[in-house]
């Protein structure tokens, strides 16, 4: 934020782009679709509404702390960060950039709607589910019928 200027919501979003998800370091909370609303008042007051991927997520407090710290570091002195329970998070909120990063860095695919995502390792659409749950309740384990890779899908 430039000193002396009135902050805008897009200044706040710029800061949030630098806050990573604790379980996917290097993927920002903006790309994961956790940011629902940002308000910046003329008095320099900012508010951020976040939505959890699921209500029982144990990372919520870490995420809120990280957001608060990043905003304070950028000069927003008393940011208000809260979690709202509407709308409900779905995988369609993950941006294209977020999906690319999940695939290339974490070998994790994202299912949006009913269509099957391609294998993040070889690119073929050939993932077959072998287990309903992976290391998170929001991920299943799949085997790529083309290259044999064990891939988790976020659903």
């Amino acid at each position: 934020m430039t000193t002396g200027m009135i902050p805008t919501a897009s200044d706040v979003v710029d800061v949030l782009l630098g806050v990573d998800d604790p379980e996917y370091p290097s993927v920002s909370i903006v790309d994961l679709g956790l940011v629902e609303a940002v308000r910046a008042g003329e008095d320099g007051h900012v508010e951020v509404d976040l939505i959890p991927t699921f209500l029982g997520c144990p990372a919520l407090e870490f995420i809120a702390t990280d957001v608060r710290r990043a905003l304070q570091h950028a000069g927003f002195l008393q940011p208000v960060v809260r979690f709202v329970d509407r709308p409900v998070w779905t995988t369609s909120r993950i941006t294209a950039a977020g999906r690319r990063q999940l695939a290339s860095e974490f070998t994790v695919a994202v299912r949006v709607g009913r269509s099957a995502p391609p294998c993040p390792h070889c690119g073929t659409i050939a993932l077959a589910e072998t287990s309903l749950f992976g290391s998170m309740r929001c991920r299943s384990i799949n085997e790529c019928q083309a290259c044999g890779e064990r891939v988790e899908i976020v659903r």
């Binding site: 379980e23 370091p25 990372a59 070998t107 749950f133 290391s135 044999g148 890779e149 064990r150």
Partner: protein
């Protein structure tokens, strides 16, 4: 099509050159075996760790800690699940064979899961020290590892373990800034967990180690252990906690921590599943396996019905 190598020397050169081996490749048997054993040990350890964590779900103090323990249990079991699949893909043993070996006491798992966690402060020590130590080892393997599927899964495991470490740091702060009783509880837990954590990095490396030769694990055990000691001896000291090593001191010239002589006998005992809590842990895991048999049978009968 997988690749193949005419001689072992050619394979050595491929790996030394930074090559990544994939499951479809025609890898040498010795390599296949070494990778398999390494991943099987990791899978067993995640499973035993997850079962240990699970014991604390009902006993965790407060809702936030309970959510964290639940998530950690899900993570560890999920990691085990993925690792068993990657290990089974190597064609040495099936997933069921690995599990049956483990529950019959023939499998190996990391030394830290051969001890009893007595109080919640032990869980704090495990989350703060053991998880941090495991992360140091896994990061070193991830950086160099020549086996593709394992390396890609480690990327996700490391991200999740990093998250566990944050919980560990937060739990440690609660105890360090807590009451006299909390500080005493953590000091006692530190007495129990300091040496096992140092043992976890493994005995001093041998020059002819196959893991190093094929870049399965390239960094030496003593170097990884030293990395841990330098960081955590400093941190514990800053919180006013003293590890149970009367010879632990800071070298006045180099500023580096030097530990006393490490007794390797306790590690050897755990390697043969003869650690203080090994028998109970293995029996407990075997009971879980037996108790969940009806679930597997139900799933199999549904799958058979679908196929019919």
């Amino acid at each position: 099509m997988g690749r193949s190598w005419g001689t072992l020397a050619e394979f050595d050169a491929f790996v030394a050159d930074g090559g990544i081996v994939e499951p479809i490749d025609d890898m040498p048997d010795e390599y296949r075996q070494a990778v398999f054993r390494f991943i099987e040990l990791h899978a067993n350890s995640e499973l035993m760790g997850g079962l240990t964590e699970r014991d604390w779900i009902p006993r965790a103090p407060g809702l936030r800690r309970k959510m964290a323990v639940l998530a950690k249990t899900q993570d560890e079991i999920g990691h085990a699940h993925l690792l068993y699949m990657v290990a089974a893909d190597l064609g040495m043993k099936t997933r069921t064979e690995m599990l049956e070996d483990l529950f019959a006491g023939r499998g190996r798992f990391h030394n830290v899961f051969h001890y009893q966690a007595v109080t919640w402060a032990d869980q704090v020590a495990i989350a703060y020290l053991v998880d941090a130590g495991a992360l140091i080892s896994q990061q070193a393997v991830f950086k160099q590892c020549s086996y593709g599927p394992y390396r890609r899964i480690l990327r996700r495991i490391i991200a999740e373990e990093g998250f566990h470490m944050r919980h560990g740091e937060e739990m440690l702060l609660t105890f360090a800034e807590g009451t006299t009783t909390q500080r005493r509880m953590f000091a006692e837990a530190l007495d129990r967990w300091w040496w096992p954590t140092l043992h976890m990095f493994g005995p001093p490396s041998k020059p002819d180690d196959v893991l190093a030769r094929w870049r399965i694990k390239s960094e030496r055990n003593e170097d990884l252990r030293d990395k841990f000691v330098q960081k955590y001896a400093t941190l514990l000291d800053s919180y006013g906690f003293t590890p149970p090593d009367p010879e632990l001191r800071r070298d006045p010239d180099t500023g580096r921590w030097v530990t006393g002589e490490i007794d390797w006998e306790p590690l050897k005992a755990t390697l043969s599943n003869l650690g203080p809590d090994s028998a109970r842990r293995v029996a407990d895991a075997a009971t879980h396996w037996a108790d969940s048999r009806w679930v597997r049978e139900a799933l199999e009968s549904v799958a058979a019905g679908v196929a019919a």
